[in-house]
């Protein structure tokens, strides 16, 4: 079984203004976590939230990508130069 670790290429994107390098094939959710953000979004009562299901069911992984809000970061592959904003 070949996993994404077998592909060494790295690409850079920005999370909340900070550049983070991730292995090609990574999802945006992994990049956000690698950038050190523990909070992906704020709940309706003000609580910090981050991914629960990891597979597009729970909507807790929502972030803003290239200006588009409410993107499910667990299901979107990273692209070089992406601008990701958490907690918007």
């Amino acid at each position: 079984m070949k996993s994404i670790e077998a592909r060494p290429e790295t690409l850079n994107l920005r999370v909340d203004g900070h550049t983070v390098g991730v292995p090609a094939g990574s999802m945006v959710s992994a990049a956000v976590a690698m950038a050190g953000a523990s909070k992906f979004r704020t709940s309706v009562t003000g609580q910090p939230r981050a991914p629960l299901c990891g597979m597009g069911i729970c909507f807790e992984c929502r972030v803003t990508i290239n200006g588009r809000a409410h993107c499910k970061s667990c299901q979107i592959p990273c692209e070089a130069g992406m601008e990701v904003e958490t907690d918007v």
Partner: protein, 419 residues
């Protein structure tokens, strides 16, 4: 609808009619698409993830034996409505598509069952499969302290994956009693391949504590998870950890079959011997018919693929294999049934609905789903009850009453057309 509104909808394309449309590109969907296309059908396969493989084959080459170049694959596409018979409305990141089909195979898989407990909404409290999915998506877990908890064989597979990737797996907390699991283990002896698989998983976990009759009662932390309190034999203690990977088995994703009016069984969507649902020309295969694992999903997918392509007799050779795999699934269900004490986990102020932040006290005051939705907005947020639904079913015994389009949040532009 006026022409002006129609024209304002960008990039809506209508496909030519496919003989078979397969929704879901996990093992069942892949097997169905392969057998349907081999039977001469024109086949489309739709999945909301970027690549085929589903959750179990995420980021691996395992789907390759089932991929067929003449299946038209629509990845990153969500079915949000069925606007007319034989038509599915799909939303992709930059365009919409109306997919036309003669027969439909729904292989929508399963999700984890989450049960609420104090602190379960903290960042880094995830599903068991959820954390594994995030790790497969590129999150490094080396040297992370992880508690794996909940129920079912998935916990073992997840713990081994995390450990193999350098994680410090502190323990596995399985809520089921050892006696129930032991009975399941005895049943396995009649299925040598399964026994070897099970032993292989356990052997790979040497050095990791596997505690039965043990479950998390609270997660703690300020801005993110810092520790989890576990209970076993009436005693509680606290483990410091970076992640809690916690899921209480799997539940089928029945939203789309429900939208089509397919009848349900005790375990999922009811199907006949050819995997056809109560609705003509709509088939279901894999976990959506009842949780049964990879091997059963593949064989059900193959049968549905042959049948939907108009070659049902080609599928009969697979019936015996399906029967034996279903027996195995039934034994699994009994061994890992959720214990009643788990109903005591949520406190009055524990959120049951994470989308709308609705507490258990408020949900419990209602007498059914409809009342809870109207009075508390429980299940009315973006996930549309996909997370709290499984919890509420276990805690209060409520079954979801209906599914209405859009079955997922959709762009306004997508909705500016009749559903």
């Amino acid at each position: 609808m006026s022409d002006a509104v129609s024209n304002s909808v960008s990039n809506v394309v209508s496909s030519p009619a496919f003989d078979v449309a397969v929704i879901g590109a996990g093992p069942a969907g892949l097997a169905a698409a392969a057998r349907a296309v081999e039977s001469g059908a024109r086949v489309a396969m739709v999945d909301d993830n970027p690549r085929p493989g589903g959750q179990i084959w995420r980021a691996s080459r395992s789907p390759e034996p089932w991929l067929r170049s003449n299946v038209e694959v629509f990845s990153g596409a969500r079915v949000f409505a069925a606007p007319a018979p034989g038509v599915l409305a799909l939303e992709r990141s930059d365009s919409n598509l109306e997919l036309r089909y003669r027969s439909l195979i729904l292989a929508t898989g399963a999700r984890e069952r989450f049960l609420p407990f104090p602190g379960w909404t903290l960042p880094n409290v995830m599903g068991a499969g959820g954390l594994q999915a995030l790790a497969k998506s590129g999150l490094p877990v080396d040297s992370k302290r992880i508690v794996v908890a909940g129920s079912g064989p998935l916990l073992l597979a997840v713990a081994r994956y995390l450990r193999d990737h350098g994680a410090d797996v502190r323990l596995i907390a399985e809520q089921a009693d050892s006696s129930a699991i032991f009975r399941f283990g005895l049943g396995l002896i009649a299925k040598p391949a399964k026994l070897i698989q099970a032993i292989g998983l356990r052997a790979g976990l040497l050095g990791v504590r596997y505690l039965t009759a043990c479950w998390p009662v609270a997660a703690h932390g300020a801005e993110k998870l810092e520790s989890v309190t576990l209970q076993r034999n009436g005693k509680t203690w606290t483990e410091r950890c970076d992640y809690l990977a916690c899921g209480f088995g799997l539940i089928p994703n029945v939203e789309l079959p429900t939208l089509f009016g397919c009848r349900m069984s005790e375990t999922g969507v009811a199907v006949d011997e050819y995997q056809q649902t109560s609705v003509a020309n709509i088939y279901c295969a894999g976990e959506v018919t009842g949780i049964g694992g990879l091997d059963l999903a593949l064989v059900e997918g193959e049968i549905a693929g042959y049948a939907a392509a108009g070659k049902p007799h080609d599928s009969r050779k697979l019936f015996a294999a399906r029967n034996s795999k279903r027996q195995f699934a039934g034994a699994l269900e009994r061994a890992f049934a959720a214990r009643a004490e788990l109903r005591n986990l949520p406190q009055d102020d524990t959120f049951v609905c994470r989308c709308e932040d609705v507490t258990y006290a408020r949900v419990r005051q209602c007498s059914n789903w409809r009342e809870a939705k109207l009075h508390t907005r429980c299940g009315m947020g973006p996930c549309q009850g996909r997370v709290c639904g499984g919890a509420v079913e276990f805690l209060l015994g409520w079954k979801p009453d209906s599914v209405r389009p859009p079955v997922l949040p959709a762009r306004v532009g997508s909705l500016a057309r009749p559903l």
